[in-house]
Symmetry: D2
Subunit: 180 residues, 4 copies
């Protein structure tokens, strides 16, 4: 089973968030991990997949809200949910770790909250102090922060070292116990 | 078609949030509106329905995560989604307005974010300054605040006056245009 | 908690199926039970709700595929799922018993199959011999047949008598054990 | 974007259905296509993925009902929906073509019905005359039959030749127009 990193962020993203997502996607792919996003052809979703596809043999999964959404051309396998924003829960449940590049969108905020609910570790990249405080209060040990894509990758690596057994979905909830 | 008020809040709620939810439920029911909650037998979900059922002829709908959850005995019609937290999106889509009593739970935070995403008006009851600032940044005109259940009801009444036509789901998105 | 009867059937229904659905809706409402349908303003969904609303104090719930669908004007509370046909599973999970008026639609067939999967009793009204044989093979004791709305109601009554305790969703699966 | 073949079938499958699924999975993988299944470690789901993983560089996606289900060890990327049987709709929406190996399970029957509803082509492998008649009545041109995995693959190839442009999810509905 492959290790899956969900990269979340706004459809209307800032330049900095897009660049972070692109680099993150590339770094994730270089590790041999799968990039999972919301799958549309805009914003952080698109940028993370674009970054990943710079790497040969990479795999990008896009979990789409509906069959009518335009899919990012950097998505290898679109999962069509026909669930609108209800698909946000699938995004986080299917990721071993969730990385948020930008929290200006309500969809991304819902995903971070749902990740906390599901006991998934979340890494906030370049989040504001107020945003970090808000989610730390909510998610305690599940929330960590990174000031760059490189630091996010390092956090994921460190977290994986702490794992004794191979990754299985049945163990997703074990992340509750990890301090990142 | 009935007017539906979604009352959201933590499963592990503070005493004050529970009391607010109970009063809100009762006030909503007295107006002849439907109370919609997450349906479980705990926290704000349970309290809002309990308040509503103090009123003869009231109607409470509970949108349950799974068939195994214990249903509040104050729910008239449980909608079983078998969707876990994915049902949070249904809660907000099916409510004409969402009232949050307490934001200490990740499920409730996801619901407020999803409500903003869906263009639904949200009323935060007794939220902290930091919480209000966080969601105002996200939802702008959709977010209003109330310092009591009475004030929340007054806000909903005022909002309804602004509506010209009868309530139809197709018009849910019109709320985007309302300033409450 | 109210007893909920799901009435399913094609959007493009035959005249006979519509008439059966209308009578069923009325009979269900007279018993004080809730009518649950797919909620749209067409076919069996619309007819069943129309029949129910002939009865004072009746309650009709419509579980809609998307926020853009036209809701039957006979629906009291629309549940907006934004899930397309994924909502079919919610329809059957939220009903204590499912009655199918016409099996010419793929949506209805999926609902009967999902009802069997969920262990819900299904009553096929005026189904063809081939249809009955197909679903009997699939659902064994869960599938019963009725040649009229009256007979469907009688079957539900008989089934309810067999129940010892009040209806709770947690007991939905108990229906597996019932022979109707 | 990769071409995705959904292989559906019962959890408690006959020996013949399992063998068909295994061969199908292998043939699909050899073509460079993605195998998508319900992801659990049993029946046709497991067998199709097992067949695919005999081929180097193959990709198997499993769309799981819940986070608690045991995932087939032949699944590369599990998509966790937490939706129970509601995930059946995602299975068919995310597949360009659906192949059913065995129709003895209610879940599989719901998937074929939902595929027809979504306008997806369905290939029934070694189905009985009654089953073929039932689904032909429902899905007309969308339903084709194969007496072996080889014939199923040939049908998919033939269908792909009829396509002028590369595969995009937005075109999924175009299959309505194809006669296979």
């Amino acid at each position: 089973m492959r290790f899956v990193v969900g990269v979340m962020g706004p459809a209307k993203a800032k330049k900095k968030d897009l660049e972070n997502a692109r680099i993150l996607g590339e770094f994730i792919a270089r590790r041999g991990w799968v990039v999972l996003t919301g799958g549309r052809d805009v914003g952080v979703m698109d940028a993370a997949c674009e970054g990943a596809k710079r790497v040969g043999g990479s795999l990008t999964i896009g979990v789409l809200p509906t069959a009518k959404d335009k899919v990012s051309r950097h998505v290898d396998v679109p999962i069509i949910t026909e669930m609108g924003s209800g698909r946000n829960n699938i995004n986080v449940l299917s990721s071993h770790v969730v990385v948020a590049c930008g929290l200006s969108g309500s969809g991304t905020v819902s995903e971070v909250a749902l990740a906390v609910k599901a006991g998934k570790p979340v890494i906030l990249v370049e989040a504001s102090a107020a945003e970090v405080a808000f989610f730390r209060k909510l998610g305690k040990r599940l929330i960590s922060t990174a000031s760059s894509p490189e630091e996010a990758i390092a956090l994921i690596m460190k977290q994986m070292e702490g794992r004794r057994r191979p990754v299985r979905p049945a163990e997703h909830r074990d992340y509750d116990e990890l301090s990142m």
